[in-house]
């Protein structure tokens, strides 16, 4: 029988009585442990591969469109975003992500995937209340904290970074 007290619930099964702490120990014992080393390696390889592809695209823009590396960076990002959106729309990106983990979440392709998947998911609720309102559901916090972090870094730079490169 459950009894919710200040010290937490108890599970009573016949003569056995378990506190939340006891139960946590039991539950943790049965929880499969992720292989962190393998996950890190997969993330390193897949994230690295995405960056390598980006580098190749940038090189193509520089070699064939006569751009400087700075000019080529924006179209490179745009191409990566397009590729990510296409893969998301065909239902492939989430399958890659299950293998790649952080490797496909951290690069710009992960950001594009979060927006595209939210937009697809809310299509049924219409353009305004659905797609428009929900597109930034996941990406919104990246932007908010990105801007806040940039502001803090800017402050640090102004106070301590005098003489630094602007």
């Amino acid at each position: 029988m459950p009894t919710k007290t200040k010290s937490g619930a108890r599970l009573r099964l016949n003569s056995v009585s378990l506190t939340e702490k006891d139960y946590k120990e039991i539950a943790d014992k049965h929880k499969p442990k992720p292989n962190i080393f393998v996950n890190c390696l997969k993330a390193f390889l897949s994230g690295g591969l995405i960056c390598l592809i980006g580098q190749c695209i940038q090189q193509l823009f520089m070699s064939y469109a006569g751009m400087t590396s700075k000019e080529a960076s924006s179209p490179t990002v745009a191409v990566l975003i397009i590729i990510s959106v296409i893969l998301t729309s065909f239902g492939v990106y989430d399958k890659i992500a299950q293998w790649a983990g952080a490797g496909s979440a951290v690069p710009v392709t992960g950001f594009a995937n979060s927006m595209c998947s939210s937009a697809l998911e809310s299509k049924a609720e219409g353009l305004v209340l659905g797609v428009g309102a929900n597109m930034f559901k996941l990406a919104g916090s990246v932007i908010v904290f990105g801007v806040v972090a940039a502001f803090v870094v800017g402050l640090v730079h102004v106070i301590f970074g005098l003489g630094g490169v602007h």
């Binding site: 029988m1 459950p2 919710k4 937490g8 619930a9 599970l11 099964l13 016949n14 003569s15 056995v16 378990l18 939340e20 139960y23 946590k24 039991i26 539950a27 014992k29 049965h30 929880k31 499969p32 442990k33 992720p34 996950n39 998301t88 729309s89 239902g91 990106y93 989430d94 890659i96 992500a97 299950q98 790649a100 983990g101 952080a102 496909s104 979440a105 992960g110 995937n113 979060s114 595209c116 998947s117 939210s118 697809l120 998911e121 049924a124 559901k137 996941l138």
Partner: protein
């Protein structure tokens, strides 16, 4: 009906499940129980434009099939008891428009299958109806959308995560003979042992399952050996091993061949790795019970079965606010038509 012990109903007239059906999506249709389902859709959209309409269609289809199997018309049906995982249980309520019978909507998350079956049996046993329909449905994409991330979002799922099944199971309970009998129902209590991780539902729900199983044996005086199969709803691999551990500690011993879990039965996790720890969702225990288990009882391969459907009663809001997950389990005892008391 009479109450025995603290929380178990004994249905003295033993209402029969005279017709049942399980309708599933393509992924369940490739699983080990494929042959037992009454209809398998070959597309996840279930030929509809939105996921919500797809879920409703599964329920409408399963209800229509169950009535056909029971040999009764829509006009004969006296009550419909249903529920699902959507906000405001829209799938069953909207399906009830087409079913037309007087309707009671219930919510027990994934325990809804046995909650609705217990209530339908209660109504029939009390003489309140000759035909009552119990049913539930879930769709992978509606549930992921509401409780987790967008379907196509690339987040790596942990090993404890479960996969919501796409399917609907319904059953017609009747005072007329002609099918497996519903003999007991043990209504569960909420158990909350402080698990907060919505990606580890098995660990959250296992205490509720263990509590209801222990209560069922205490109330009825039965022992595990009285059942050919005791099956939990959707604990999947993690919750299944925890519940075995808890029951062992409580002195309720059973070999693994007797205790199984619908979430483990519905997919072949080696060939269908997307299922991670196993299946979950309202439809999980419903399609396994109404598709697979009832057929085995009818064939005489199983005589007596206890289905313990488990539900995690969280909302997206509650876990974002850091609340732990209250869980529940309802058990219903089924037996073959010829079984001796």
């Amino acid at each position: 009906m009479r109450l025995t012990g603290s929380q178990t109903w004994v249905f003295e007239s033993k209402p029969a499940i005279i017709g049942a059906s399980a309708v599933v999506g393509p992924e369940e249709g490739q699983g080990p129980l494929a042959g037992d389902f009454d209809f398998v859709y070959d597309n996840l959209e279930i030929d509809e434009k939105t996921w919500e309409k797809a879920e409703r269609k599964l329920m409408e289809h399963a209800s229509a099939l169950a009535l056909t199997h029971a040999g009764i018309s829509r006009a004969d049906l006296q009550f419909f008891i249903g529920g699902d995982l959507m906000n405001q249980i829209i799938s069953s309520t909207f399906a009830a428009r087409r079913i037309g019978a007087p309707y009671l909507g219930v919510f027990g998350a994934c325990s809804t299958s046995m909650e609705s079956l217990a209530l339908a049996a209660l109504i029939v046993d009390a003489g309140g109806a000759d035909y009552a329909l119990a049913g539930t449905a879930s769709h992978n994409c509606t549930v992921e959308k509401q409780f987790r991330y967008p379907t196509e979002y690339g987040a790596q799922k942990p090993l404890t995560a479960q996969y919501t099944i796409t399917g609907s199971g319904t059953a017609v309970v009747s005072s007329r003979a002609g099918g497996p009998r519903v003999t007991h129902a043990t209504i569960g209590r909420i158990q909350d042992l402080g698990v907060k991780d919505p990606f580890n539902m098995g660990a959250a729900m296992a205490p509720a399952a263990a509590d209801t199983i222990v209560a069922h044996f205490r109330d009825t005086g039965r022992v595990p050996e009285d059942y050919d199969l005791i099956v939990t709803g959707d604990l999947a691999s993690v919750g299944h091993s925890i519940v075995l551990d808890l029951l062992n500690r409580a002195g309720v011993t059973m070999s693994e061949t007797v205790l199984n879990d619908c979430g483990l039965m519905i997919y072949d996790r080696d060939k269908q790795p997307f299922a991670m720890a196993g299946g979950s969702g309202c439809g999980c225990s419903a399609v396994v019970t109404y598709g697979h288990i009832l057929k085995k009882i009818k064939k005489g391969e199983l005589n007596r079965v206890l289905v313990v459907a488990t539900g995690a009663l969280l909302s997206p809001l509650s876990y974002q606010q850091g609340e732990s997950i209250p869980c529940i389990a309802h058990a219903v005892a089924l037996e073959s038509e010829e079984a001796k008391a």
